[in-house]
Symmetry: C2
Subunit: 440 residues, 2 copies
C-alpha cells in the first residue's frame, strides 16, 4: 500500500479560509500545481500551487526566506515557466516541497510566516494558465474496456474488443502542437469522409464531432533509451494527473484510421485542465486493481503485488455540456455522464511499464492520455458517440435541446474529484473547451 502521512490528514486545515470550505477542490490536502500569471500581465508564466481560491506563487515564495534545502531547490524549479525542471528533480524533491508548503499553509503556522506567505498569494479569479510543461511526446492510451465494448457494439451488438485489448495497454502517439489549456476554442475540423456505399470520399466540415473524457498523466522522471521501467518502479516516474479532453472527429476517423490509426480525427485539438494533482495527494483514494478470474491475467512484465493492491484510483469524473443557447439563456450546463477512473482495465503503472518495455524513453513533461474513461453502468460513457449511440438515440439537455454529436458553440466541461470517508475531498478543477464553426 502507498503510505499516508500527515499531509493527508482529514483534520488539517489552512489559514486560507476558502481552503476549508465544503466542496472546495483545493483544500490543504490537495496542493496541485499549475503554471499561471496574472491575466494579461507581461510577467513570465510561473508555477503555482492551488490553495482554496488562491494560487501560491512559486516564484514569489522561492524568493523569500521561507524554504531551504531540497524544498527550496524544488520551489525554484517550480517557479519557471514550464515544470519540466521540477519534474526532473524526482520524488524526494516533490515530497519535500509538498510537505514544506503544507506547513506554511496550515492554520498552526506562525503569524510571521502567514504574513510572508500571504504576500505570495494571487486570487485564482485574477490569473490565466498555460500548458504546464514543454511536452516532449504525447501518448494516448485506450484502457477502458467499457468504452472499447461500447464502440464495438455500435457496429455489432455481439461485438467484442480486438483480441489484443485484454493483453496490451493499447496506445498510439498523439499530437503535441495542438494541446491547449482549459478555455481552448477550436474550429470544427474539415476533412475527408466516405459515405456508406459511395465510390469516392467527400471533403467537408466534420459532421460527427465528439469529446472524450480522459485523464492526463504527467511523466516526472524519465528513463534512458533502452532502459525499460519495471512495473514496481513505474509510479516513481509519474508526477501527477490532470483532466484531458481528446476531441474526436468520428466521421474523419472512421475513414482514415485503417491501418495506421487515428490522425486528423484527433490532432486538431486536445484540452487539458491547468491543475496537476500529484500522485502523493491521490494516495488515500487508491484501490485494489483487479482482473476478474474469467479475464486473462497480465503477462509477467505487467503483473505485480503493489499494482494488485493499489493500482486503481477512484477519481470521480463528470462531463457537462453547455450549448450556445444554454449560455445565452443563462440556464447553465447539463451533465452528460459520470463515472470513475477506478474501472480502467489497465493501471497507470501498467501504462508506464508497457510504454518502455521495448526500450522507448520517456522524458520529464511527457503526457499520457488515459484513453476514454467509460464505466460499466448506464450514463457512465465518456464520449457522446456511446451515450447517443452514434446519434441514433440523441441526448436531451436540461433545456430540451438534443445532441447526437456536438454542435457549433457547444462547450464541454470535464470535472473530477476524489472523496472517501475519513479523507478530504480533493478536486481537479475544470477542463473547458469550445467548438467554433468550421473555417472551410
Amino acid at each position: 500500500m502507498i503510505a499516508l502521512n500527515h499531509t493527508h490528514d482529514v483534520d488539517a486545515s489552512s489559514w486560507v479560509a476558502a481552503a476549508n470550505a465544503a466542496g472546495t477542490d483545493f483544500p490543504i490536502q490537495n496542493l496541485p500545481y499549475a503554471v499561471f500569471r496574472r491575466t494579461g500581465s507581461p510577467q513570465p508564466f510561473r508555477g503555482g500551487v492551488a490553495i482554496g481560491d488562491q494560487v501560491l506563487d512559486m516564484a514569489a515564495l522561492s524568493a523569500r526566506q521561507l524554504l531551504d534545502g531540497l524544498a527550496l531547490d524544488a520551489a525554484r524549479a517550480a517557479a519557471l515557466p514550464a515544470l519540466n525542471d521540477f519534474f526532473t528533480l524526482g520524488g524526494a524533491a516533490w515530497r519535500a516541497l509538498r510537505h514544506a508548503v503544507f506547513a506554511l499553509l496550515r492554520d498552526d503556522a506562525p503569524a510571521a510566516t502567514m504574513h510572508a506567505v500571504r504576500e505570495c498569494l494571487v486570487p485564482q479569479a485574477e490569473v490565466e494558465y498555460t500548458v504546464p510543461a514543454r511536452i516532449g511526446d504525447y501518448t494516448d492510451f485506450y484502457t477502458s474496456i467499457d468504452h472499447a465494448l461500447n464502440i464495438s457494439r455500435l457496429m455489432n451488438p455481439e461485438g467484442d474488443v480486438t483480441p489484443n485489448f485484454r493483453w496490451i495497454p493499447t496506445a498510439y502517439h498523439g499530437r503535441v502542437s495542438t494541446i491547449g489549456i482549459s478555455g481552448q476554442r477550436f474550429h470544427r475540423p474539415m476533412g475527408q469522409t466516405m459515405a456508406p456505399g459511395a465510390e469516392a470520399p467527400t471533403y467537408h466540415a466534420c459532421a460527427r464531432l465528439d469529446y472524450e473524457l480522459e485523464l492526463g498523466i504527467w511523466i516526472g522522471e524519465g528513463n534512458a533509451a533502452g532502459e525499460a521501467i519495471p512495473l514496481e518502479h513505474a509510479e516513481e516516474h509519474v508526477f501527477g494527473i490532470c483532466l484531458l479532453n481528446d476531441w474526436s472527429a468520428r466521421d474523419i476517423q472512421f475513414w482514415e484510421m485503417a491501418p495506421l490509426g487515428p490522425f486528423l480525427a484527433k490532432n486538431f485539438a486536445t484540452t487539458i485542465s491547468p491543475w496537476i494533482v500529484t500522485m502523493e495527494a491521490l494516495a488515500p483514494y487508491r484501490e485494489a486493481w483487479t482482473r476478474p478470474a474469467n479475464e486473462p491475467q497480465p503477462l509477467a512484465y505487467l503483473e505485480g503485488s503493489a499494482n494488485r493492491e493499489s493500482g486503481a484510483i477512484d477519481i470521480r469524473l463528470e462531463v457537462w455540456l453547455e450549448s450556445e443557447k444554454a449560455r445565452s439563456e443563462g440556464s447553465g450546463p447539463s451533465r452528460l455522464s459520470r463515472t470513475s477512473f477506478r474501472h480502467q482495465y489497465w493501471s497507470v503503472a501498467q501504462m508506464v511499464a508497457h510504454h518502455t518495455v521495448g526500450g522507448c524513453s520517456l522524458n520529464p513533461g511527457d503526457l499520457f492520455g488515459s484513453g476514454t474513461i467509460s464505466g460499466p453502468g448506464p450514463g457512465e460513457a465518456g464520449a457522446i458517440i456511446e451515450l447517443a449511440r452514434a446519434a441514433q438515440d440523441p441526448v436531451t439537455l436540461a433545456n430540451g435541446e438534443q445532441r447526437g454529436f456536438l454542435e457549433d458553440g457547444d462547450a464541454v466541461l470535464l470535472r473530477g474529484w476524489c472523496e472517501k470517508p475519513g479523507h478530504a475531498r480533493i478536486g481537479f478543477g475544470e477542463s473547458r473547451g469550445m467548438v467554433l464553426p468550421a473555417k472551410g
Copy 2:
C-alpha cells in the same frame, strides 16, 4: 516550375578542392545544413554547411565581417545548437544565406575572403553530429503504393491497398524521444507477440526486426492552429530533406496495431542522417507528379498545377547492410536495394496540405517521415520484409550470409543523391544505425 538560379549552375566550382571531386555528396551546388561540433569537444553544438570534405561553421562565420543583412541574421540563427530559429526565419532568409555562402565558397571569391572563410572550416572527419533541431512533433507518412502493395500481397497475392490509400496521404504520429542521429545503436526491442493459433501472447525479443528506407522532411515555417496550409503554399513551409530509417519490429507490430496503429513496434528507435538538403538545392531534380488515368484523381484540396508540374523529386536511394561478420572480415556492406523517391503516390506538398487541412498546427523543426520508399521494380523495396518476403525468400549478402530479418550486429546504411544530365550530383551523406542484442 521551380525557378533555378546561379547556385544551381553545373559549372560553378569551389576553392575547397574536395567539393569539386567527382562523386562528392557536397559540391557547391548542394550546401546542406547539419548541427555539429568537434568530436568530443566541450564546445556547444552549432549549425554548419557541408562543402566537400569540410563543414563551414556558422558560429565562426557569423562572428566575422563576411555577411550582412538577412544573410547575417540567418547565419546567426543557424549558429545555434538547434536550427529551429533558423527555420522560423523563412524562405527569404534561407535563400539569402545560401546565396551568400555560395559566393564565399565559389572559386572566384577574393583571396582575402577565402582566407577568412578557410578559418571557419572544420574537416568532416573531425566532427560529430546531433539531431539538428528540437523536434516538436514527428509524423510518419505512408505514401508509397508499391510498399503498401508489397505488404498487402504478403498476406494475399491478390491483395490491394486499403480503400483510403488512394485518397489520403496516410500518416500517424510517431515518437520524438527516440529519434537519433546517424551512428545510433539500439537494443533489439522486447515485446509481446501472438503466434498463429496460440491462445495467449508471449513476451520475448523481437524476432522480425526490420528497417524502413524513408526520407525525413523538415518543416521550416509553421502555421497557426486552425489555419490550413493550401497546397500551393505548402512547400514554402518545408526547409529540406534528410535520410530516415524507421526501424520496425514486425512481429510486435502485427499483434499490437489493430485498431490504433503501430506503437512499440516503431518507437524504440528512428535514425536520421545529419545533413539536411534544402528544397532550393533539390530544385533541379524536380519532376512532374502524375497519377495514372486509371487511378482516382485527388480531391481539390490535394490538387494543383504546380504540384502536377514539379511535385515529384528524383532522389536516388540505396539501402546497404553490413553484418558483424562482414565488418570483422572487412568485406564491406552489401547493397540490398535501390530506388527513387520519384515513385511516391503522394508528394511532399500533399503531405503538408493534408496534415493541416483539419486545423493541425505545424511548428518549425517538426519532422515528417515520407513512409517507406519502395519502387515498382524488383530490388526496389525499402524494407527487408518485402525483399525477403517475410523471410520466405532470404536475401543473400555479398559474403554468402543470408537474412530473412535483421540479426544482432547488423548495421543498416541509407544513402541518397540526385543526379541529372546538365546538373551537378548532390548527395545526402549517410544514415547508419546498428542493432545491439536485446537486453531482456
